[in-house]
């Protein structure tokens, strides 16, 4: 019983790590090129992993983006496309650009604020 529990806890951590690895498009490309996506058992496993979408599990995810990738992976077309390196590269670029979204926004705000302050200064003078 205890061994079972430990085994299950270990499985929890392993699955937690694995599902988050799916956020890495290069890793997905790796898996696609080695034909894992053609394995029916693997596809079923991906479907099983959808339990990470439940809030009581999702709160352990550090990279919640992986859930989106997991959802996309349920579609065969997506799995097939991932064999291309360009596809993976494109996803990678878009992910990074999206990642920077808030820092860009913040920079813009800061710039706007700086400009405003400058204007105030010049008008005061």
């Amino acid at each position: 019983m205890d061994a079972d529990d430990t085994g299950n806890r270990l499985r929890f951590q392993l699955e937690l790590e694995f599902v988050q690895c799916l956020a890495n498009p290069n890793y997905l490309n790796f898996l696609a090129q080695r034909g894992y996506f053609k394995d029916k058992a693997f596809v079923n496993y991906l479907k099983y992993l959808l339990y990470w979408k439940e809030p009581e599990y999702a709160k352990y995810l550090k990279y919640p983006q992986c859930l989106h990738m997991l959802e996309l992976l349920q579609y065969e077309h997506f799995r097939k496309e991932l064999v291309n390196a360009q596809c993976a590269k494109f996803i990678d670029e878009q992910q990074i650009l999206h990642w920077q979204h808030y820092s860009r926004k913040r920079m813009r705000l800061q710039q706007a604020l700086a400009e405003q302050q400058q204007q105030n200064n010049t008008s005061v003078k």
Partner: protein, 275 residues
């Protein structure tokens, strides 16, 4: 003179009386027809009588007693005629009443239709209201089910942003190895990656701590592996599943642990060098 009045009455009573008595095929003629027939008879008899009287003035009666016969017929017919007239008057009254009643019926019909319309409208409005109320209840139920304390959400938001998992670090430039997903290095240093390297030598003989000491890893990676929020996740269990993923779900089966191990030992084709 009397006959002219009678004819007018017959014409007036005709349309109404015609309806009441016309239903018997040819057996019962309408009051109007009977009145007209009686009138014709009277006219005929009157004419005959006058002819006979005219003839008898000049010559002897060919048939004695004929004028009395005719007279009798005349009287009889007149009696019938008077009765028919009375009948016609009664029928006229009834017809008039019928018309009044019909008007009342029509009015009532309109009232009923009006009420029907209003009822239908009311029903429609109520149905809409009930439907929307049900929808609201459903969404309330749904919201209640998914209720999460704001504190937890804030904690989670802090965790994923502070580690730069969902938001790029402010000093990020192209060339910075950090990524919005676990990098190769992180993957290998995690539990999954360590599964085929049970030795404590770490990956390829290097411990991640070494790389940190060598100054090549940012602080974020050492030794706090991305997925070990260990205080939290130690007691968590994944959903149960049977051991063979070859079958269709929900009979989910064994993960291909072999593949998982293979993943960790193979060097990824597109990764940079791991040390």
């Amino acid at each position: 003179m009397a006959m002219a009045a009678a004819a007018a009455a017959a014409a007036g009573a005709g349309p109404g009386a015609g309806v009441t008595a016309g239903g018997g095929g040819g057996e019962r003629s309408s009051t109007r027809d009977r009145l007209l027939a009686a009138l014709e008879d009277l006219e005929l008899l009157a004419r005959e009588l006058i002819e006979i009287l005219a003839i008898s003035r000049n010559q002897k009666l060919p048939q004695p007693g004929e004028e009395s016969q005719i007279l009798e017929l005349l009287i009889q017919r007149d009696g019938e005629f008077q009765e028919l007239m009375k009948l016609a008057v009664d029928q006229g009254k009834i017809h008039h009443e019928m018309q009044l009643l019909e008007k009342v019926v029509e009015k009532r019909d309109n009232d009923i239709q009006q009420l029907q319309k209003q009822l239908k409208e009311a029903e429609h409005i109520l149905a809409t209201a009930v439907y929307q109320a049900k929808e609201k209840l459903k969404s309330i139920e749904k919201a209640r089910k998914g209720a999460i304390s704001s504190e937890e959400i804030i904690k989670y938001a802090h965790r994923i942003s502070a580690s730069n998992a969902v938001c790029a670090p402010l000093t990020w430039v192209p060339g910075d190895p950090r990524r919005p997903y676990p990098t190769d290095l992180e993957m290998r240093s995690g539990l999954l990656g360590q599964m085929n390297n049970p030795s404590t030598n770490g990956v390829n003989g290097h411990l991640p701590g070494d790389a940190l000491a060598a100054g090549r890893l940012p602080d974020v990676l050492a030794p706090q592996y991305p997925w070990q929020s260990s205080d939290m996740s130690m007691n968590m269990l994944p959903p149960n599943h049977s051991n063979d993923f070859m079958l269709e779900p929900p009979g989910h089966n064994k993960e291909n642990e072999d593949d998982v191990e293979v993943m960790s030992t193979d060097s990824s084709s597109s990764s940079s060098d791991s040390d």
